[in-house]
Amino acid sequence: MTRETGTDSKSNIRRIVRKALKATIKGAVFYVVYIVLSQLLAPISEYVPNIQQIIETFATVYVSLVIVTELASGTIFQYVLNTAKSLFVIAYVILSLKTGVFALTAENMSLVIDLRLFLAIGMLLGLLGLAKSVMQTINYVNERAELTQL
């Protein structure tokens, strides 16, 4: 009995460590992607003053959600957080790109960049992510129901 409890707690610790490690790796990968992107966008940020802040806020929230989702894996909260992540992506794409047309004025010159196509594609991909999260949730609830019946 004592040995079984000891094995359970060991496997629990191992599972938590594995989750934490996975979350750390995922977080680190996303952070590296963010660093590379911000480096690439550095020349553009001279012309679009708040682009760095937009990406920074997005990366912070997204990486946090990725880490928390990974830590909550194996529970219903993982799917709830996944859905929240997808909704956040859609909302952020809409809010940051607004109409999808960036207009800047400097001295005697005005610059207009039309990103409506990317806004539309981004939103569609966000919806695809949301659909995936919903499907995962349904699948998880379904599996749990089957286990309970057994």
């Binding site: 992107l37 690439l40 966008l41 020349p43 553009i44 005697n108 010159m109 005005s110 610059l111 207009v112 960049i113 039309d114 990103l115 196509l117 990317f118 594609i121 981004g122 991909l125 695809l128 992510g129 659909a131 995936k132 499907m135 995962q136 349904i138 699948n139 379904n142």
Partner: protein, 264 residues
């Protein structure tokens, strides 16, 4: 259910990565596109139209082709109305390609000078709205617009009639005649040579038409003109004051009457 979920996840991730990389690299490669504007030139065509030429050099050193390059310039009037419009387009600029084009815009000088007569006498600056558009990576439309101004030199800058000099020249049929010498001067600040005539109609102090005369002028660009015009009239019509009506007639424009009073 797990396989479709996994496939959806993979497809979403791949598409996101592709979208972000493509969008960032397309915008990033714009910084490697060099656009150089040459010295704008103004000349006169054989049809007496003002030709505005702007040489443009584009070197696409970016990662993608550039599509639908277009430069449009519009000359605006003083009430923000459009006087002339010119557009130059290129369907595609491949990566690594250097393209040199000349953007041209023609302005009907006759129409311009008849609408805006102050351009005949006053130097000013013509306002030009210039818009350049391009589709980065043939997908992202980018547009830059700016206001430019080009100097306009008046062809009859500082047109002046000097005080008329009356000289009695003789008596015929009991009528005394006199000659009137009217000095006239101006500077041709325009980019074109001026050739035509200046006609004067003289009215005395009681608004009675007294005489008229014409002089041919031929003035090169950026040159000063000084001459005089002779008028003949009966001495009884001559008064100390009155006014002249001035009419200009050249191959580019006709203008008049410009009323200039005199007082000797």
């Amino acid at each position: 259910m797990k396989v479709p979920i996994r496939m959806t996840g993979i497809a979403t991730s791949v598409l996101w990565i592709f979208l972000i990389i493509f969008c960032v690299s397309a915008l990033y490669s714009l910084k490697d596109v060099q656009v150089q504007f040459g010295e704008p030139r103004i000349s006169l065509t054989q049809d007496n139209e003002m030709l505005f030429s702007l040489p443009i050099g584009i070197f696409n050193n970016g990662l993608y082709n550039l599509g639908r390059f277009n430069v449009t310039t519009v000359i605006m009037g003083q009430q923000d109305e459009m006087l002339a419009r010119g557009s130059t387009s290129l369907p595609i600029i491949s990566k690594g390609e250097a393209v040199n084009i000349t953007h041209q815009m023609t302005v009907n000088l006759t129409s311009l000078l008849s609408t805006y007569q102050n351009l005949l006498f006053n130097d000013t600056e013509l306002q030009i709205n210039a818009t350049a558009s391009i589709t980065a990576a043939e997908v992202i439309p980018v547009q830059v617009s700016s206001n430019l101004s080009i100097p306009w030199g008046a062809p009859l800058y500082d047109f002046t009639l000097g005080p008329p000099e009356f000289t009695v020249i003789g008596e015929a049929n009991s009528t005394v005649s006199c000659r009137v010498d009217v000095p006239l001067s101006f500077e041709n600040h325009a980019f074109f040579d001026l050739a035509g005539t200046v006609r004067l109609r003289m009215y005395n102090g009681t608004n009675v038409f007294t005489s008229e005369g014409e002089v041919a002028i031929e003035v090169g660009q950026h040159s000063f003109y000084q001459g005089s015009l002779e008028l003949y009239l009966p001495a009884s019509f001559a008064t100390r004051n009155g006014y002249f009506e001035v009419y200009f007639s050249t191959s580019l424009f006709s203008n008049g009457p410009l009323v200039i009073p005199y007082d000797t």
